[in-house]
């Protein structure tokens, strides 16, 4: 029996170093028309003309986005579904219907995951762990969200007339996918990751997810930094998922208080994805938000050597309308991974 010689290594309390530093082999993003009109519109692999994609429902359209992104990522890596050992997927819908149906259509064994909008980095972590441990050779990671499915499940019917406050975010329509594979060869690599703790500082406003999530982002980011003995300056980019304008301000304030200010390196996918004139209020959100920005904005920069080391810390508001109606608040989580580019980034 062959024994895996390079076992993963734990750093600090909740951080793992992936000794074989699994690589990102392929990537893809597919987005809706509104995202296509945003500042990153040119970067996405596919911008759809409408957000129903000829399907019978918004839910089925969301699944179509995920399948499309998965297939494009496979194409990008030069692989086929039969080459993939595991599909790690997440979305925001009840029973994870999007991921379940998409996995059925792709025909790849599924780990369905839920960390709301932090699902993407949870997926990257799990994929890296599976590849690093030798339990899988190629893993497809994908997350999807759809503005209209999220509205009808979490908030109001789409055509219901109401005014959203300035702290509200707009769920990104689309899906992002990457393929994680073994560490030989060039390309961006996942070198470490931190599993987030669930924090709840009592925020109850479902129209202010940024404030609910900021403490979780601070907790995980500072933990990853201290566990790996790095400082914010050691990263070219620290990308969060959907903290929005207010959540980002809170992140700066709280990381500054903890002595590890990240305002210089920080970018928020939610703030980047829409232009102010698109009137998305505090920015984009949703499981697809960080995935599409990561796949189409950050990974190409890593592959081209324009950035060397980045941290991706997606935040998820584990919001449940039932919990809120019963007087509860919004627990949040943030999972982070470190990704290094260049030719010799192995830890």
């Amino acid at each position: 029996m062959q024994v895996v010689e390079q076992a993963p290594e734990r750093l600090g309390r909740y951080t793992v170093r992936f000794r074989t530093a699994p690589r990102l082999l392929g990537r893809a993003s597919v987005v809706g028309p509104m995202e296509g009109k945003g500042p990153l519109g040119q970067l996405f692999d596919r911008v759809t003309d409408d957000d129903i994609l000829g399907q019978k429902s918004w839910e089925q359209a969301e699944t179509a986005y995920m399948v499309d992104a998965g297939r494009l990522a496979l194409e990008n890596a030069g692989l086929e579904p039969k080459d993939i050992d595991l599909f790690v997927a997440g979305d925001l819908l009840n029973q994870m219907v999007t991921s379940n149906v998409a996995a059925g259509r792709l025909g790849i064994p599924l780990f369905g995951i839920y960390s709301a909008c932090a699902s993407f980095t949870q997926g990257l972590f799990m994929a890296a762990a599976m590849v690093d441990g030798g339990y899988a050779r190629h893993v497809l990671v994908a997350t999807a969200s759809h503005h209209k499915t999220a509205e009808r499940q979490y908030r109001y019917p789409n055509e219901f007339a109401h005014q959203r406050p300035p702290t509200a975010t707009w769920t990104v329509t689309g899906a992002g996918a990457v393929i994680v594979g073994p560490g030989d060869g060039d390309g961006p690599r996942i070198t470490s990751g931190t599993i987030g703790r669930v924090l709840d500082l009592g925020i109850k406003d479902p129209y202010d997810m940024g404030s609910a999530m900021a403490p979780a982002a601070v907790d995980t980011i500072t933990r990853l930094l201290s566990d790996t003995g790095t400082a914010p300056e050691d990263y070219d980019v620290i990308l969060t998922g959907d903290l929005g304008e207010l959540g980002s301000k809170l992140l700066y304030e709280l990381t500054a208080q903890s002595g590890l200010p990240v305002s210089q390196q920080h970018k928020d996918a939610g703030v980047m994805i829409y232009a102010p004139e698109q009137d998305a209020h505090a920015g984009g959100s949703g499981a697809a938000c960080v995935a599409v920005v990561f796949a189409s904005w950050l990974v190409p920069q890593l592959a081209a050597g324009q950035v060397q080391r980045v941290m991706v810390a997606a935040t998820g508001a584990l919001h449940s309308p039932t919990l809120i109606q019963q007087g509860g608040s919004i627990p949040s989580v943030c999972h982070a991974v470190t990704i290094e580019g260049g030719q010799d980034a192995r830890a």
Binding site: K56, S57, R152, Y156, P157, N158, E159, F160, A161, H162, Q163, R164, P165, P166, T167, L199, D200, L201, G202, I203, D208, S211, P215, E245, L246, K249, L250, E253, L254
Partner: protein
């Protein structure tokens, strides 16, 4: 678990950084939108009375016409844009009430006519109807206690 003190501290930090709500702009916009809907209703009422209906009948027909217009605007996807601008000015008139029934009916049509349209139609308007009826029953009870029946 975060302590109550930590929660309070965080709450004040959030308040300190929160963008101010554009209250003056919202008030003005809702005044204009709500006012224009009412002016439209007035014109419809005048038109209906000119057709030869009595003032009391004309009120009922005006409500029906406004509901019809709102349902149409909701179906064409423009009523939510009106409320995005006008806020409560678009929600409060009878047109807003119509929107709150038509929008779930459209939204949940894909779940079928029974468990979708019919079951979900009153998810937003239902509470208004329940408490509206309860309040009217209460007012009627008070009236009965004070002045009795039939006067």
């Amino acid at each position: 678990m975060a302590t109550e003190q930590a929660k309070q501290q965080y709450k004040s930090l959030v308040q300190q950084h929160s963008p101010p709500r554009p209250i003056v702009r919202n008030l003005l916009a809702s005044f204009v939108v709500g006012g224009l809907i009412s002016v439209l209703g007035q014109f419809i009422w005048i038109w209906i009375t000119r057709l030869g209906f009595g003032a009391k009948d004309a009120y009922a027909y005006t409500g029906a016409v406004l509901i019809g217009l709102s349902a149409l605007a909701t179906g064409f996807g423009v009523y939510d844009a009106l409320a995005k601008f006008g806020g409560m000015g678009a929600n409060l008139p009878i047109t807003g009430f119509a929107n709150s029934i038509v929008s779930p009916a459209i939204e949940f049509k894909r779940e079928g006519y029974v468990m979708g349209v019919a079951a979900k139609m009153f998810t937003i308007a239902g509470p208004v109807i329940v408490y509206g009826l309860a309040a009217s029953a209460l007012v009627a009870l008070v009236r009965w206690l004070v002045i009795g029946v039939g006067r």
